[in-house]
Subunit: 139 residues, 2 copies
Amino acid sequence: MFSNSQFAVAVHMLVFIARGQFDQVTSEEMAESVNTNPVVIRRILCRLARGNLVISQPGALGGTKLSRPADQITLLDVYHVIEGCEAYCLHKSQPSETCVVGRNMLPVLEGIMQEAEAAVKEKLSRYTIEDVLRQVLKL
Amino acid sequence: MFSNSQFAVAVHMLVFIARGQFDQVTSEEMAESVNTNPVVIRRILCRLARGNLVISQPGALGGTKLSRPADQITLLDVYHVIEGCEAYCLHKSQPSETCVVGRNMLPVLEGIMQEAEAAVKEKLSRYTIEDVLRQVLKL
DNA sequence: CCTTTTGTAACCCAACGAGTTACATTTTAG
DNA sequence: CTAAAATGTAACTCGTTGGGTTACAAAAGG
């Protein structure tokens, strides 16, 4: 969960796009706001597009826009697109099969971690890109 | 949050110690159950000891025991000891100061992430090592 | 046809996690 | 007093990963 900066950058990008209501935005412009390389932006952009959060157009006058209004994109949507499959990290090596604790620890921990992750998702679902944009502009 | 296996291993260790109610347990025994190197165990053990969750004794017949009953150690206690300071990852490079979004994104995200982390902590506080041990033995 | 932009591949490098060896220190047994 | 067993910790390796960078094919408008 959030072990790299991709989620934060993705939210930043979406908010940046949302602010310029009408026009499309280029990866160059986003890179400048985030202060990183455009390729880093485009890598994340790809995933956002595949997750149907944005629509990108190549070519001159190309760029990216939101696929739907900013108040209909939640941070949970972003989380789903970015975090992929493994949200948390458990044992690296398979614990002992001959020890009761070793044998059963993983499934038990799995259950607890999923519960924790569900709590996070619930929180994230309560914020939209619009909400974040509003908070950003209010500061 | 949980970007490495230390939290899982720490819980594993504590449950392992709790199961052997009376005796002390050696890092060697824990390493066998977790299936890793004893030094990996002792590194985590150190932090658990400094966090007053366990008491370790060097020397022959030495080992480790819980500092208090297993039903008085929550997973939140473990989280506090293991996760240290930075629980989540935001931007790697400081965003643009000249862009409204760039300038204000970090504090806004910080607030949201702290709320998410609080939700996780709340969930973790509801489980004790005793609870986990019971679940493990029931499987 | 030229320019602009996305989409991706390929590479480098720094950071980090985990495993391992080694050893000083502590403590008990004999 | 010495040997053995255990913790505590430093130091090293190695594989993985994240992020930055260059390069280039493909798309699209003027």
